[in-house]
């Protein structure tokens, strides 16, 4: 009889462990472990907001908006989509920017999306949302690279700064780039894998990017540091570096 109680107890306990993850998926644990190793983590949908479309009609351009400003002095922010062949999206060293990002991604199928934010005490806060889509976004060639004029525009950067509230400067920037995943035969991978954001003298943030980000990527970052002259530097896997001032 005791054994049965023990069984029931352990069963309920295990169920609860799973229930903590608001959206379970077969790959979540492995991807998480790969990224944060044995660090401590908590599920924290209360302090982190992930916005996704109610249905992602276009799987190659799915807008995402993450806001974790409620977590003060956050150190690092990572986004990943559980069921994408390239799960990782972006890994940001938050130095002097807020834990906020807006970008478009590709999805291969309906997938959970996670935001991991490392707080000042070394604990990861994890938020989840679900992207509903019929998918197919990772296995199509970029529209950009089939354009014959694409050499002319490659690396063309646009950007603008907005003071959205007191001491919060929003930097919007976009760059013309095919962001090829390499998953299609005949189209080798070719994507931006690094962004460095600076003011005149300091690095505000450096980020690692992955090809799950949509072609001609567009970003929103926010910083409290006012500058007359922000500099954004994009590097791609072929070694091209594209730099632009943003005012």
């Amino acid at each position: 009889m005791k054994l049965i109680y023990l069984l029931i107890f352990s069963f309920i306990f295990l169920q609860n462990l799973n229930a903590k993850n608001p959206i379970s998926s077969p790959t979540f644990d492995d991807i998480l472990k790969d990224i944060i190793k044995n660090d401590k983590y908590i599920f924290d949908d209360e302090n982190i907001e992930i916005k996704v479309p109610s249905f992602a009609d276009n799987p190659i351009q799915v807008p995402i908006f993450v806001n974790a400003k409620k977590i003060k002095d956050a150190k690092r922010m990572i986004l990943f989509a559980d069921l994408n062949p390239i799960p990782k999206i972006i890994d940001m060293d938050l130095k002097a920017i807020y834990p906020i990002i807006s970008l478009n991604i590709k999805v291969a199928q309906e997938t959970p999306i996670r935001a991991l934010i490392l707080d000042k005490n070394g604990v990861w806060h994890i938020a989840s949302n679900n992207i509903k889509s019929f998918g197919g976004g990772c296995s199509v060639a970029s529209v950009t690279s089939s354009d014959t004029d694409f050499g002319k525009f490659l690396g063309k950067i646009n950007g603008e700064v907005f003071e959205v509230e007191k001491d919060t400067y929003r930097i919007k920037s976009s760059i013309f780039h095919p962001m090829e995943t390499g998953l299609i035969f005949g189209n080798p991978e070719f994507y931006i894998n690094k962004i460095v954001l600076k003011d005149n003298t300091n690095i505000l943030s450096s980020m690692e990017l992955f090809s799950a980000i949509s072609e001609n990527p567009r970003f929103i970052f926010e910083t409290k540091i006012k500058s007359q002259n922000y500099i954004i530097e994009f590097s791609d896997v072929d070694g091209n570096v594209f730099t632009s001032e943003i005012k």
Partner: protein, 299 residues
């Protein structure tokens, strides 16, 4: 008994999707099928757009054919209940799948502009794959059948029945509008959505507004829009213009203020559009699709 139920279930699932169509009479010889004001789903079988037909002296003219082979078959059956005249002519108003995928159910001549014909030929299969995903079983046997007659004259004479053709754009790159001067019915296709939020997947807002201003000049008795119920009201065209202006202005202002897509979506719905069906979903789609092109004007 259990087996019987099981067998019945199996057989009923083999039965073709029933669209339960009933044509609505506009006058003596003009009818339309009212598409549901919904997005494609397995429950509606893709029946979301209006299809119209005109019975002439010797034949039947069909304007658009719906979203599937099965839908095509079923409107054919309904038309045959009303008249024994053959459906000799079809007009495809534009290249969206809810308007031409029923083509293959007919042997008729199919008229369309060059652009529409090319789009149907090139992307028809993609549309089918996409709809099989969303609509599922009702798409059974649906194949692409491209138009075989080129539409380019101002007056289309079909067996002696004359229709005025307007070549406009904005909803897509080629939107054909038909005006029947005998009955004063305006078949606006998807340039007008009546009390249903316009869909903008391939839209050019500025051109669309221009086309609508063109349509405002026509003195119609009935307006059969591509979506939403047919009406005698003169308001729908104005309402569409004001929605498109609102969309354009919202996106412009938002880009100017540096907003994110989701910040735009959180804004309250203006009162005048509260009565539009599908506002939330179509507005979201439009913002996601169109906003990047407004952001391009970043310095």
């Amino acid at each position: 008994m259990k087996y019987l139920i099981f067998i019945l279930l199996v057989f009923s699932s083999l039965k073709a999707f029933d669209y339960k169509l009933k044509p609505i009479k506009l006058n003596e010889n003009s009818y339309f099928f009212y598409g549901k004001e919904e997005y494609f789903s397995p429950l509606n079988g893709g029946d979301i757009a209006n299809v119209s037909f005109i019975i002439t002296q010797n034949s039947v003219i069909l304007i658009d054919t719906g979203s599937s082979y099965e839908y095509g078959l079923q409107i054919k059956k309904e038309i045959e209940k009303i008249t024994s005249k053959p459906i000799k002519y079809i007009i495809n108003t534009h290249h969206h799948p809810d308007h031409f995928l029923g083509n293959s159910a007919f042997q008729s001549d199919i008229f369309a502009t060059d652009y529409t014909k090319n789009e149907i030929t090139q992307n028809g299969d993609l549309y089918i794959v996409n709809l099989v995903n969303i609509v599922q079983s009702a798409m059974k046997n649906t194949k692409v059948k491209a138009p075989n007659k080129n539409l380019n004259s101002k007056i289309l004479d079909l067996d002696g029945y004359k229709l005025e053709i307007l070549y406009l754009d904005g909803h897509t790159k080629s939107d054909v509008v038909l005006f029947d001067s005998q009955t004063k019915i305006l078949y606006s296709a998807d340039l007008v959505f009546h009390k249903r939020t316009p869909a903008t997947a391939h839209a050019d807002i500025k051109k669309w507004i221009k086309s609508l201003e063109e349509l405002e000049k026509i003195d119609y008795k009935f307006l059969v829009s591509g979506h939403g119920i047919a009406t005698t009201s003169k308001k729908p065209i104005k309402e569409n213009i004001s929605y498109l202006r609102f969309l354009d202005e919202t996106l412009k202002q938002s880009a100017k203020n540096g907003l994110d897509i989701f910040e735009i979506l959180e804004k309250p719905i203006p009162k005048e559009f509260e009565s539009f069906t599908m506002f939330k979903e179509e507005f979201e789609r439009s913002v996601i699709n169109l906003y990047p092109s407004y952001e391009k004007d970043l310095k």
